[in-house]
């Protein structure tokens, strides 16, 4: 399938990114390679969407910092960017709404590009043929995640069932797992996941590189080195602003996660 006839695709990753690590960025690279190998997709963009402070996860530092660190980390990437929309909302946003927002944004962008093309002279138009053919199709938007994410679908009160369905049916998942773990099992054990398994792309990471943000924060608190696990620019930023301390780890301690709080009050 030629590049022109491939379906354009945007990858969206949600998470705390507290802080961003080399592994987060690796997920994007793996997903892109995998989707390109299917021959059906052309990944045109990667979006990192850090969660709002209102998520109330323990140790979650201010969104201002998390966005700044992600920007520094992604400086060298020509296709992945960080989007602050989620952090700018007044309260925590459910994942499906983030997906809807970014999908609508890409549709809006497409329409404005089409308007732009329409107003161009014919001669100018011909030189942008390739771009216009890419423009004509609305890109698919898929949620990029790790295998542990699939597992969270089973956590009581964390997800609304209709949301899971919409994510799987309207968008789709690209799920990265490491050698030794088997996300196919979670799919098998869930009726809903099984129903939409055609829209769940399973990608294996054979080169183990499990850099958990939690462990990074612990190391930073203890003065241990995290060089080569997160970008140097992020290390410098953290040091300069003294972001991760024992105090920052205690933030939101004892609080209930916002999605759990919401669903509890709803019931």
């Amino acid at each position: 399938m030629s590049v022109k006839s491939r379906i354009p695709l945007i990858l969206l990753a949600c998470g705390s990114f507290n802080p961003i690590t080399n592994m987060h960025m690796r997920l994007f690279e793996l997903a892109r390679d995998h989707l390109h190998r299917t021959g059906r997709y052309q990944v045109i963009e990667g979006i990192m969407s850090p969660v709002s402070d209102d998520y109330r996860k323990k140790g979650l530092v201010s969104a201002r910092h998390r966005i700044a660190m992600a920007k520094l980390a992604l400086e060298t990437s020509d296709w992945i960017r960080v989007d602050p929309w989620e952090t700018e909302q007044e309260s925590w946003t459910e994942t499906v709404k983030v997906l809807r927002h970014h999908y609508n944004e890409s549709v809006r962008l497409l329409q404005s590009k089409k308007e732009f093309m329409k107003n161009k002279q014919p001669t100018e138009r011909s030189t942008e043929n390739f771009l216009s053919s890419q423009c004509s199709v609305v890109p698919e938007l898929k949620l990029l995640c790790g295998a542990d994410f699939l597992q969270t679908f089973q956590t009581p009160n964390l997800w609304k069932k209709e949301h899971i369905q919409e994510i799987l049916e309207e968008f789709g998942l690209v799920c990265i797992s490491r050698a030794g773990s088997d996300p196919a099992q979670y799919i098998y054990e869930s009726e809903l996941l099984t129903k939409f398994q055609h829209n769940i792309f399973l990608v294996k990471e054979w080169i183990q590189n499990e850099i958990s943000s939690t462990q990074i924060r612990y190391a930073l608190c203890r003065g241990l080195s995290v060089k080569y696990l997160i970008p140097d620019s992020v290390i410098a930023y953290i040091a300069y602003h003294n972001i991760y301390t024992e105090e920052s780890e205690r933030k939101n301690e004892g609080d209930l996660l916002q999605p759990l709080k919401l669903h509890n009050t709803a019931m």
Partner: protein, 312 residues
């Protein structure tokens, strides 16, 4: 306030190419030694193996040294020493000269085109002064030529490390020489648990070499959490005897970014971003290294010829 022992960490290996995991070994070892309160790590040295090692897929030392230098450019304590990678020429010439006084051909050190580099496959490891076998002979094809540059191909994946006692000594001497600006107490070999466990492979190591490394220099060995390295030390008499000189450091991040996997990914056109420093990735891309084509470039053909082992 007790005096802390100054330590230099030395890592030998192919670094084909260098990865974030190699660089992590240094950081982990440094943190560990500092936490003991007894050591101060003052320097880290990356010592890539020379080309004469002739391991399958090993690209030229020039590239490997350059990539390692790019990777450590922004490190304030880890550096690259290309002494080892340039050793082969020096050693060979000297050894061959001293072994073959009668033969005038020995003074002919002409360079053969890469496709004419002979490779000898020697079934059993024959020890010599520095763990190398020096031979002489002639190759046929485009006229008979005598050659004096010799290479050893050894089928073990660890064959570079038999030269470690020599390099430890070299670095120790270099760093404690009168005009060195730092006072040195200790060179320690930094390695993964695979090197430690290679001590058990028959005929790979000379017992005196193992003893020298552990007794005089010491090992800092990085292993996975839950690895059986401690058990391995327990089961080996020599390792057990000097276990105080073997520092076992547990990785707290499961990191398996091996050079082999990087090369595999590159052959398959897959991304290696965030697994190696970006400058290394860019260098590999720019020089078209590790592609399928590169692996298949003219390697040494095996020539059959007679050779004699030198008598020392």
């Amino acid at each position: 306030k007790t005096e802390k022992t100054e330590v230099v960490l030395l890592a030998c290996g192919s670094f084909n190419p260098i990865t974030n995991m190699h660089l992590r070994l240094f950081e982990l070892a440094k943190d560990y030694l500092h936490e003991t309160g007894k050591y101060k790590v003052i320097k880290g040295i990356i010592s890539p193996v020379g080309d004469a090692y002739k391991k399958k897929g090993l690209i030229s030392a020039d590239h490997r040294v350059t990539m390692a230098k790019l990777a450590t450019n922004n490190s304030d304590w880890v550096e690259v020493d290309d002494w080892e990678s340039s050793q082969s020429e020096w050693l060979e010439t000297v050894k061959v000269l001293s072994l073959n006084k009668a033969c005038s051909h020995c003074f002919d050190t002409f360079t053969l085109a890469p496709s004419y580099k002979p490779v000898l496959t020697i079934p059993s490891f024959s020890s010599s002064l520095l763990g190398w076998v020096f031979c002489r002979g002639t190759i046929t094809g485009s006229g008979e030529r005598s050659f004096t540059r010799l290479y050893l191909e050894y089928s073990s994946p660890y064959s570079s490390i038999y030269k470690i006692p020599l390099f430890c000594r070299h670095h120790h001497e270099k760093l404690s020489s009168p005009d060195a600006t730092i006072s040195l107490q200790n060179v320690k070999l930094l390695c993964g648990s695979d090197v430690l466990e290679s001590f058990a492979i028959p005929n790979l190591w000379k017992l005196e070499d193992i003893t020298e490394i552990i007794q005089n220099y010491g090992l800092v060995c990085i292993s996975r959490a839950g690895n059986s390295t401690q058990k391995f030390i327990y089961e080996s008499d020599i390792l057990w005897k000097y276990k105080n000189n073997i520092h076992l450091v547990e990785e707290w991040i499961t990191n398996d970014i091996s050079s082999t996997k990087i090369r595999r990914a590159l052959r398959r056109g897959q991304s290696i971003r965030y697994l190696v420093p970006d400058v290394v990735r860019a260098y590999i891309e720019k020089n078209d290294l590790y592609t399928c084509h590169a692996i298949c470039t003219p390697n040494a053909s095996c020539f059959s010829f007679s050779f004699t082992f030198p008598e020392l």
